[in-house]
Point group: C2
């Protein structure tokens, strides 16, 4: 379907985007509005920001509600007359999970069940959920397919996303809704709010001569540009039926060392790189994340942006939006 | 190790049993005391009962604390000076999950994280957890091994147990504790408090001529006697290291029809059996549960009680303890 055909269909479809003021959420909001959907974004604005919704706000088909998913009654009211939910709100901080061990439980598990109950109460039938490749733990099969062997969780973040997936599956199997669960790799691009690219850029802003890398730099990671991620969601949102899990990553991967080099080059710097000894960047980090994308590829999707270009684009956006860089660093 | 050798070792080991007044919990408590362990049982007495702890209560090495795992501060106090936790407290009601969708979340997920944090706070290093074969959903490999393909959950109960497993794995991987997770089939035997044997016996008490079976009766299930279950826990509790998952079921299975026939025969009745049409007994029921036990068998464990004998023994106990039957039926 071209954009024009889509908008004839989408004119009357009302989509709720949780975490709609966040990095991926606001990109999804813009894509939905461009296709003619009615969009209600909800966000507690803890990491999301209305700055990401400046374009959206001028669209009459858009509304933002500031609320926390832990507030069930407000959430339930937000689900009224909604046709489809794209659930992106989450605590996405993998690395610091042990500093606040209840945050993943509350924001990723309890919040998701609140949403599922709010959808059930309001008869909302369709859900897209953003899970993570971290649910595979230290995967034994790489590239990792969706039906990989039963994994062992290595982080509270991965555990909490697995829990949310599991509850969604139970709701779907019981016939309360249909859902497509995407297991994302790390996403890069405009409005990027946290992760290694910000850490590295911030370090180099402070000291252009030295870049300290967590772990030995040989961790292999697959990154996807947010535009490719959003394209996958847009492709699949009209095909939600039953319960489906789809990996969403790049066919390629790079090392953290590669990434550090590309970030430095984007900034025209040649810092000395200082590596740690560990194969993991931090407790619970997975040293090799690379997903098997054949299932979503069979639906007609493919990544269009190389990992290197995704990184370069993220650096460029951060340099043009230093407020986002400072905000991320100050926490 | 014989019992006598064990008790030399166990003399100074303090074990906390959550759900210690429940069906499996109270059997575990008795087994621990017989082996010379110091035992603290905690239970909110919602389904557990002090009647199951009458023998234990006369032992000076035993103490019962009535508390709910949702009360973090009390739980944390209970974890003081404990060497090992056997975590059995749970909402074990698979069938009626959709009547109270938050119960699994609270009692199986939030309660487990409370326990994990209480253990971390008190430096308790070892955990045994009772998960369930339900986490395999509608298994695609039967008998189902621990590393079966990534499952799709069919019940809130299974989803909540999977979530608890996942959090435990994250705590273990981060080095906060060591844990052995057992995935149980349904357990039968003395002090049985809920499930199909009670349902069938109660029906036949009311009307000995007709037995109504949920589903078509062809559901295949593997049941284990509580004495075999407890033996497995006792065998493994001195070998907890890292993170391990062990199936715990019978090598055999029966149909629900077999089970109904054996229950009727135990009661000397020949009722007309009325079956439903569905391959599932209820929403989210798995029509074939049969676990691959080779991992725990390789540690020297094997079931000693046949499924038929487990069922007969359960019926006999219920008939000798009609208070338990009435209590279960009245809810």
């Amino acid at each position: 379907m071209g954009l024009q055909q889509l908008s004839r269909y989408s004119r009357n479809v009302r989509v709720l985007v949780t975490g709609g003021a966040g990095f991926i959420g606001s990109n999804v909001v813009d894509a939905l509005l461009a296709r003619g959907y009615n969009v209600r974004a909800i966000d507690n604005l803890s990491t999301g920001t209305t700055r990401f919704l400046e374009d959206a706000s001028s669209d009459t088909k858009f509304e933002l509600q500031q609320l926390d998913l832990l507030n069930f009654e407000s959430l339930s009211a937000s689900c009224r007359q909604i046709d489809l939910v794209i659930h992106l709100a989450a605590n996405a901080d993998v690395r610091f999970g042990w500093n606040h061990p209840r945050r993943d439980l509350e924001q990723n598990i309890v919040a998701t069940q609140n949403l599922l109950e709010a959808m059930r109460r309001n008869g909302v039938q369709k859900l897209i959920f953003s899970s993570t490749g971290s649910v595979y733990g230290d995967a034994t099969i790489i590239p990792t397919p969706e039906d990989a062997p039963f994994p062992v969780q290595t982080s509270l973040y991965g555990a909490s996303k697995l829990s949310a997936e599991a509850m969604i599956a139970a709701y779907a199997t019981a016939g309360h809704l249909s859902a497509t669960v995407f297991r994302f790799v790390s996403i890069l691009g405009p409005r990027y709010t946290h992760g290694h690219v910000i850490d590295f850029v911030a370090q180099l802003q402070q000291n252009p001569l030295v870049l300290k890398v967590l772990g030995n730099g040989q961790q292999r990671k697959s990154y996807l540009h947010v535009s490719d991620c959003v394209a996958a969601l847009m492709l699949c949102m009209e095909r939600i039926a039953g319960f489906k899990v789809l990996n969403l990553g790049h066919d390629d991967y790079c090392t953290v060392h590669d990434s550090a080099r590309w970030i430095a080059e984007s900034l025209d710097l040649r810092p000395q790189m200082v590596f740690g000894n560990s194969v993991r960047g931090w407790v619970g980090d997975n040293s090799f994340i690379h997903l098997d994308n054949s299932k979503i590829r069979s639906l007609g999707w493919a990544p269009t942006c190389s990992i290197r270009d995704s990184i370069t684009d993220t650096v460029a956006w951060l340099m043009e939006n230093k407020w986002a860089l400072h905000r991320a660093v100050l926490g």
